[in-house]
C-alpha cells in the first residue's frame, strides 16, 4: 500500500497544452486504481475534459461554486452623474439612453464605483455562481472522479481547484489512497493551486521547442513549492534532437525520467471514441509504453518517502525585490 504518506497527491502537469496530460491521466488512473484506492481530479476548471476521456456523461453530484460579486446600480437612487463610468478601470459601466448600467460580464467587483458614487446608488450582488464542482462516485473503471468547471467570464479558478481537491480528500476520508490530479496547461492561478500541497508532479513534455520552454516554466513552479518531479516524454519519436534536450534538462534538474510514449495514431482515435487509450487500444505501442510507465510509478509510490528525498529539487535562487520608494533612487 502507499507507504508512509497515507494520502498521496500526484499532479500531472505540462505547461504547454496538448501534450497528452489527460490522455496519460485517464490511462494511468485506470492502471493505478487496480493497485490503490484512487480518486481522479480534473483540475482544469477552464476547460475540463478528463470526464470525456473517461466516457462520463452523467454526474452523481453537482455543486454550485459561489465566488465573487458583481455591482449593480439602483435606478431609483442613481442621478446618472457618470462618475462611476469614469472611475471604472474595466470599462464595465455602460450608458444606454443616458442612463448608467453595469455590464455583468465585465464587472470585476472591485468596489471602485461604489466609492466614488456620491449618492450611494451602487450595490453588490453576491452569491454569484462562478462555477460547479462535479462528482462521479464511480466511473465505469471503478474509481471516483471529481471535476470542476468555471463559468465563462468569471475570474480566478484557483479557489475552485482547491475546493475540488478538498472534495476529493473528503471522499477519501481517513482511507489510505492516491489522488491523481490532472492539471491545466499554463502556470496560472489554477495550476499553482493544483500543484500546491502535492507530493509529486509528473511533467509531460513532447520533443518540441515550445514544450521544452514551457516544461522549464512549470518545473520552476514545482521547484518553488519544493515538490519533486518525474518526466514523461510523449510523442517521443517526433524529434530526437529535442528529446535529447529535454532529457538533458531532466538530468541536470534531478527530474526522475519515467519513460517515453511513442507517437501513435490510435491516440486521437481513442479520444474520438471517448475511451481511454488503454481500453480502446490495449495493445497499441502507446498503451504498452503507458503500462511500463505505470509500473515504474508504482515502484516510486511504494517508496515515496525515499524517492522524495532523492529527488527533492534544489532551492530556487532567492528573489531580491527592487524597492522603489517615492523620492528615492532604486535600492536593491
Amino acid at each position: 500500500m502507499v507507504s508512509s504518506i497515507s494520502q498521496l497527491e500526484i499532479v500531472i502537469a505540462s505547461g504547454k497544452g496538448g501534450v497528452g496530460k489527460s490522455t496519460l491521466a485517464s490511462s494511468l488512473a485506470i492502471l493505478l486504481a487496480k493497485k490503490y484506492y484512487l480518486i481522479a481530479v480534473d483540475a482544469d476548471a477552464e476547460a475540463p475534459n478528463l470526464h470525456i476521456a473517461l466516457g462520463i456523461d452523467e454526474w452523481d453530484i453537482v455543486e454550485p461554486y459561489i465566488e465573487g460579486r458583481i455591482a449593480y446600480i439602483n435606478r431609483d437612487k442613481c442621478t446618472d452623474c457618470g462618475l462611476c463610468a469614469d472611475a471604472c478601470q474595466f470599462g464595465a459601466i455602460e450608458v444606454r439612453n443616458g442612463k448608467y448600467y453595469v455590464n455583468k460580464w465585465i464587472c470585476e467587483g472591485c468596489y471602485t464605483c461604489s466609492f466614488v458614487c456620491p449618492v450611494k446608488a451602487i450595490f453588490f450582488e453576491r452569491d454569484i455562481v462562478a462555477g460547479h464542482i462535479y462528482v462521479k462516485e464511480k466511473t465505469i473503471y471503478g474509481f471516483p472522479l471529481v471535476s470542476s468547471e468555471i463559468t465563462p467570464g468569471r475570474p480566478n479558478s484557483g479557489k475552485l481547484v482547491t475546493e475540488a481537491k478538498n472534495k476529493a480528500k473528503k471522499i477519501m476520508g481517513s482511507k489510505k489512497g492516491l489522488i491523481l490530479v490532472d492539471a491545466a496547461a499554463g502556470i496560472g492561478c489554477q495550476v499553482i493551486s493544483s500543484i500546491a500541497g502535492a507530493h509529486a508532479v509528473i511533467l509531460v513534455a513532447e520533443p518540441t521547442p515550445s514544450s521544452l520552454n514551457d516544461l522549464k516554466r512549470i518545473h520552476k513552479l514545482a521547484k518553488h513549492f519544493g515538490i519533486p518531479s518525474m518526466l514523461v516524454i510523449n510523442k517521443a519519436d517526433i524529434s530526437e534532437k529535442y528529446r535529447e534536450k529535454i532529457l538533458e534538462y531532466a538530468r541536470r534538474e534531478n527530474i526522475d525520467y519515467l519513460g517515453d510514449i511513442p507517437y501513435d495514431e490510435n491516440v486521437p482515435r481513442s479520444i474520438n471514441t471517448m475511451k481511454p487509450l488503454l481500453e480502446a487500444y490495449p495493445d497499441t505501442e502507446a498503451s504498452k509504453a503507458i503500462r511500463r510507465i505505470a509500473e515504474k510509478l508504482v515502484k516510486i509510490i511504494d517508496n515515496i518517502s525515499e524517492w522524495r528525498l532523492k529527488h527533492l529539487p534544489a532551492k530556487i535562487e532567492p528573489f531580491i525585490p527592487i524597492i522603489i520608494k517615492p523620492g528615492n533612487n532604486i535600492v536593491k
Binding site: A130, N156, L221
Partner: protein, 113 residues
C-alpha cells in the same frame, strides 16, 4: 516574538496545513523574547483561504497585520514568497506534523542562536 503556524482548524494540536496561502487558519504563538517561553496562543482566520485569487498575498498581509516574525508551514507560492521577503517574515518550511511538534523544533533552533 510572534510565530504563526499554518493550520486547518487551528490550535497547537492541529496538523500543519498542506498549503500556505489557502490554509484555513493561522495559529499564532507569542513567545517571550528572552526565554522563548510560550506566553499566549490564539487562532486567526486566514483571509487568503476565502480569496478567489491573490490568496498568498492576502495571507501574508494578515501575518504583517498581526506583526508576526516567523511563519511555519509549507513552501509558500510565488506571490506569497515575494511578499514574505519584502515584509521580512522568516519562513520555516515544515509539514507533516502537528503545530506543536513543529513549534518545538523551531524554538530549539532559535535557542541555538
Amino acid at each position: 516574538m510572534k510565530i504563526a503556524i499554518t493550520t486547518n482548524k487551528g490550535g497547537l494540536d492541529d496538523q500543519i496545513a498542506d498549503r500556505f496561502g489557502r490554509a484555513p487558519t493561522f495559529t499564532i504563538v507569542e513567545l517571550d523574547d528572552n526565554t522563548l517561553e510560550i506566553k499566549n496562543v490564539y487562532v486567526v482566520e486566514n483571509p487568503g483561504s476565502k480569496a478567489g485569487s491573490g490568496a498568498g498575498v492576502r495571507a501574508v498581509q494578515k501575518l504583517v497585520d498581526e506583526k508576526v516574525n516567523i511563519v511555519i508551514g509549507p513552501n509558500p507560492g510565488p506571490n506569497a514568497y515575494i511578499a514574505l521577503q519584502q515584509s521580512g517574515i522568516k519562513v520555516y518550511a515544515i509539514t507533516g506534523m502537528t503545530a506543536k511538534e513543529a513549534l518545538n523544533r523551531v524554538i530549539e533552533e532559535l535557542k541555538k542562536k
